[in-house]
């Protein structure tokens, strides 16, 4: 009984922190309609700031608390609202998601940048050494403080939302923003208040967690993510249900930690993973989202139909470029290039899923990990059957993840897939080797640290060197890209795009949404599994950290930034991510001049996040802009020919000097110059062609800049739908 009471007190104290974290999340979601994935990271930053003031600078606890909770956190929230979230009104759920996930990632990177990794001693701000007893169980004051803080937050939020003008304005704004404006409310100001208070609550949750775990940015940010499960209890709207859910969650974690046997690896890693399991189960238990006819608005994004000629050219450039690069690059650069293809294949898996079908998944990197584990276990001696199993196992798990997708959409689906990814990180990957169904076949995850992945042996062709693997990567990527293009061009591609726009319309023409979603999740998972197996081959040994949820987030963000509906967007994601990872090893960034080494290693971890925040609003992606910029090169034969000559020259020089960098720098300069020249030539041609044509005068200026003609009248009538009248009027005049 003593233990039970002790675990209950611990659980309630933890639940109180979850409740505070979750209430901030619910407040911002209900008032602005944005689910803030970076809420945990904001709490983490709050905790780090408190640690800095209290322990590094030696301020008194009360002063550090006031500065963090009542100055920095609200100001940060208001700034976020002003700079980032205000611009997200009216954008799609996916864009909001990308921006907030990007914020999460960039904040973790920023914290790692400012506070170097290492152990940090931090004690709770109050009452760590003193306490009282309940039925003989000691309770420290800081545990009681957590509980009291949660009660105070609940009361103050209720008072704020139901008894103050700003609270009423907040609730009105989310119901109907324009209507609230017309009635004298100021939605922007309400939103700013909501974000300020939301960030303050996140920071409070972060500060209250101090002393429980080591102050590590990722660990801390993800621990507060546990509170998302509590918010889902209240369906992101109901504060009392959120508080109840938080309490239940805290108790569950405490009981599991206390009662599960620590001698078993299976159970000792289960307790920390339990909040995300609860999140997954609660999401599955939510009522199915009803098919709604909501009226489809004009699409902001446009992904043109890819042609087979374009695919052939793209494949020739990728594979040809790889062969051209082989004599120029070192083995270590070949590994980076191989990883580029692996990341591109994983990003490619998002094209049918998010780009075409509009289904969000944050678990693609975990599926890639399944591919790597399957190949490592079943691809003995590098057997190609290992690749087949990698794809098949990933597809099966992908289809299982699709189960919540059949019922959920938007933010709930993103949360379900995120919960799955964290569950894999926290529990599945940590399991020790086990036998399958009583056989002698052993399956190894990462419980023993790392597993080795053999090089692929394709019918006697052994891909056992860095450069051979690079060629293999290029071929696998173009094959996967061709598959994605085939899907886009097929009837399935049309069905997926239709489903993305209006599921209700799809259902009413006889489309089985269940099988369509299952199919696209499985295909996407299969591609991710292929990418994972290949990345495993490139790495030769792999650990659980290679497939972590947080490592997969930048691929997701860069895929969206590159253009999630295009193969080029996936390549952009792969190139950017591999470049950012390899950047610290580049000669330029190893220079200590102006501390380039430190700056750029930090920049490489934060850049994807900032790119996501800045470019997440461009639904067509950077790949489309780049294509638009370089397309003129192909339209001028002179420029195309010149580019060919200069590329050949750059290659020859680089080959003579044994320097891949010369080639990269050379073709970058050539392509940029050629794009500029081709654009200029085309513009000049166009000016010459239109120089003698009269400048068209818009119809609105008819009768002002030129005489009003019968043709104008007919055009007006046609626009207004009076075509029959035109004939009558025209014949009379």
């Amino acid at each position: 009984m003593h233990d039970f009471l002790s675990f209950t007190i611990t659980g309630l104290a933890l639940g109180a922190v979850y409740a505070i974290g979750a209430s901030g999340l619910v407040l911002t979601y209900t008032t602005t309609g944005i689910f803030n994935f970076s809420h945990g990271a904001i709490g983490m930053l709050g905790a780090f700031c408190y640690w800095e003031f209290r322990f590094a600078m030696g301020w008194p606890a009360w002063l550090a608390l006031i500065v963090v909770l009542f100055v920095l956190a609200p100001l940060f929230g208001a700034l976020l609202e002003l700079v980032v979230f205000r611009g997200l009104q009216g954008t799609s759920e996916a864009v909001k998601l990308v921006v907030t996930v990007s914020l999460l990632f960039s904040m973790i990177g920023l914290a790692n940048w400012i506070w170097k990794p290492g152990a940090r001693a931090a004690t709770p701000f109050f009452g760590n050494d003193h306490g009282f007893t309940i039925a003989g169980v000691p309770v420290r004051w800081f545990e009681a403080t957590r509980f009291l803080c949660a009660i105070a937050v609940a009361g103050l939020l209720w008072y704020l939302l139901y008894r103050t003008r700003i609270g009423v304005a907040m609730r009105a704004s989310v119901d109907d923003r324009p209507l609230a404006s017309l009635n004298g409310a100021r939605p922007d100001r309400s939103a700013m208040w909501a974000w300020a208070i939301g960030c303050m609550l996140a920071a409070l949750a972060g500060v209250l967690l101090l002393g429980d775990i080591n102050l590590d940015p990722t660990l801390f940010a993800l621990l507060i993510v546990n509170s998302y499960a509590a918010a889902i209890f209240g369906r992101l709207r109901n504060l009392p249900a959120t508080f109840l859910g938080a309490g239940a969650l805290g108790l569950l974690v405490a009981y599991l930690s206390g009662y599960l046997p620590t001698s078993s690896v299976y159970w000792s890693t289960f307790a920390p993973a339990s909040p995300v399991i609860v999140l997954f189960i609660v999401l599955l238990a939510l009522p199915s989202s009803r098919l709604r006819a909501h009226g489809v608005t004009r699409a902001r994004e446009f992904f043109p139909m890819p042609t087979w000629r374009g695919v052939a050219m793209f494949s020739a450039i990728v594979v040809g470029g790889t062969f051209l690069a082989l004599p120029l690059i070192t083995n270590s650069n070949a590994i980076s290039a191989s990883k580029l293809f692996a990341y591109s294949i994983v990003a490619l898996s998002l094209v049918p899923l998010i780009g075409l079908a509009g289904q969000v998944s944050l678990a693609q990197f975990s599926l890639a990990g399944i591919g790597a584990v399957a190949f490592a276990n079943l691809g003995k001696g590098g057997s190609p059957m290992g690749l087949v199993w990698a794809i098949v196992f990933s597809m099966i798990v992908g289809a299982l993840i699709a189960l919540p997708a059949l019922r959920l959409s938007g933010i709930y689906l993103a949360l379900a897939t995120a919960a799955f990814a964290v569950f894999m990180d926290e529990w599945v990957w940590q399991l020790p080797p086990f036998h399958i169904f009583g056989t002698h076949e052993t399956v190894s995850f990462f419980g023993t640290g790392s597993i080795s992945v053999p090089a692929l042996n394709l019918f006697g062709l052994h891909f056992d060197t860095e450069k051979k693997q690079m060629v293999l990567g290029a071929i696998l990527f173009v094959l996967a890209a061709a598959l994605v293009v085939w899907i886009r061009r097929s009837s399935m591609g049309r069905r997926l795009l239709a489903m993305k726009d209006s599921e209700a319309a799809c259902a009413t023409v006889g489309m089985n949404l269940t099988s369509t979603k299952l199919a696209v999740f499985a295909i996407s998972a299969g591609i991710a599994g292929l990418g994972g197996a290949y990345l495993g081959i490139v790495n030769s040994t792999t650990t659980s950290s290679d497939w972590s949820f947080t490592l997969g987030l930048p691929i997701f963000m860069l895929g969206v930034v590159g253009g999630i509906g295009r193969v080029g967007g996936a390549l952009f994601a792969g190139v950017s991510f591999a470049a950012l990872q390899a950047m610290p090893a580049w000669p330029l960034f190893q220079s200590r001049f102006l501390h380039f080494d430190t700056w750029y290693s930090n920049l490489s971890t934060t850049t994807p996040g900032f790119m996501g925040v800045a470019l997440g609003r461009n639904p067509n992606g950077a790949a489309a802009d780049m294509r638009e910029g370089f397309e003129p090169i192909l339209k001028s034969r002179v420029v195309t020919g010149s580019v060919g000559v200069f590329v050949a020259l750059a290659w020859l020089i680089a080959w003579r000097r044994h320097s891949g960098w010369d080639f990269v720098i050379g073709i970058t300069i050539v392509l940029l110059a050629a794009a500029g020249a081709a654009t200029g030539i085309l513009a000049k041609k166009m000016r010459a062609a239109t120089a003698h044509e009269p400048k068209p005068i818009p119809i609105e200026w008819a009768g002002i800049d030129r005489p009003f003609t019968l043709a104008d009248r007919e055009a007006f009538d046609r626009e207004l739908g009076y075509t029959e009248v035109v004939v009558t009027v025209g014949s009379e005049t």
Partner: protein, 245 residues
């Protein structure tokens, strides 16, 4: 003989609000049946319960005598029920041709009639007068033409029952006349057409039988002439304008 569509005693409640109250109606093959009523009368809610987007609180829906009340929307579509939407639900990322092709391909797959769906698409688009816009993206079309794409898409599923929710909204006079002719042609081919429309003139011209809905209840039924003279309708819905149309 059973009607192609029978809605039997349909009630739909949202919390304390009754949007549709014990409504029964039939749409028979070879006829255009009208469903009119002021805004908020419950017409679109009734449509949603018939096609399965909403599950009625009580009542049943029959297609050619088969109870489909528990079937999902896509299964009802496969039994021959198609619809258009009051607020456009076109697939804006696709062209006119692709919008119709998706429906035709699905029909070919579940209908297993052996026809090449792509060969039928152009004829269907031509039948609604959009041949010149066949490769245009639908979000570039004016509202009236976009409504015609929705009709073409519904026709591509070769339905036996066609539900049209304000199809003439946004059409000019000439296009409305063409729509009227199309509906009469479809009915003459044996299709049951159920038409919700605010253009009373069109309804009176093309409908063989009309139901009038007000506050979720059927307040009158009959031919155009009967409805036009119905005092309840005149009082509750159309007023004196009804008599002059």
């Amino acid at each position: 003989m059973n009607a192609a569509l029978e809605a039997h005693d349909i009630t739909m409640r949202f919390g304390g609000n009754i949007a549709v109250d014990a409504v029964s109606l039939n749409a028979e093959a070879g006829r255009v049946t009208g469903l009119i009523g002021p805004n908020g009368a419950g017409k679109t809610t009734l449509f949603n319960t018939i096609c399965g987007l909403l599950t009625p609180t009580s009542g049943a829906v029959y297609l050619s005598g088969t109870n489909v009340t528990k079937l999902k929307p896509f299964k009802r579509a496969r039994q021959g029920l198609a619809r258009t939407f009051q607020r456009l639900e076109l697939w804006s990322l696709l062209t006119v041709r692709e919008n119709v092709t998706v429906a035709a391909e699905l029909r070919a797959r579940y209908g297993k009639d052996g026809n090449d769906p792509r060969s039928e698409v152009e004829a269907i688009i031509d039948s609604v007068g959009l041949s010149s816009k066949i490769d245009a993206r639908v979000d570039e079309l004016p509202t009236g033409q976009a409504r015609l794409v929705e009709i073409a898409r519904a026709l591509a599923t070769k339905p036996s029952v066609l539900l049209l929710d304000e199809p003439a909204s946004g059409l000019d006079d000439r296009e409305t006349d063409q729509l009227g002719n199309l509906l009469r042609t479809l009915a003459s081919q044996g299709m049951a057409v159920l038409l919700v429309e605010h253009d009373v003139e069109l309804v009176m011209q093309v409908c063989d039988f009309i139901y009038v809905l007000d506050f979720g209840r059927i307040i009158a039924t009959g031919t155009a002439d009967q409805v036009r003279r119905d005092e309840a309708v005149l009082a509750a819905y159309l007023g004196s304008n009804m008599g002059t149309t």
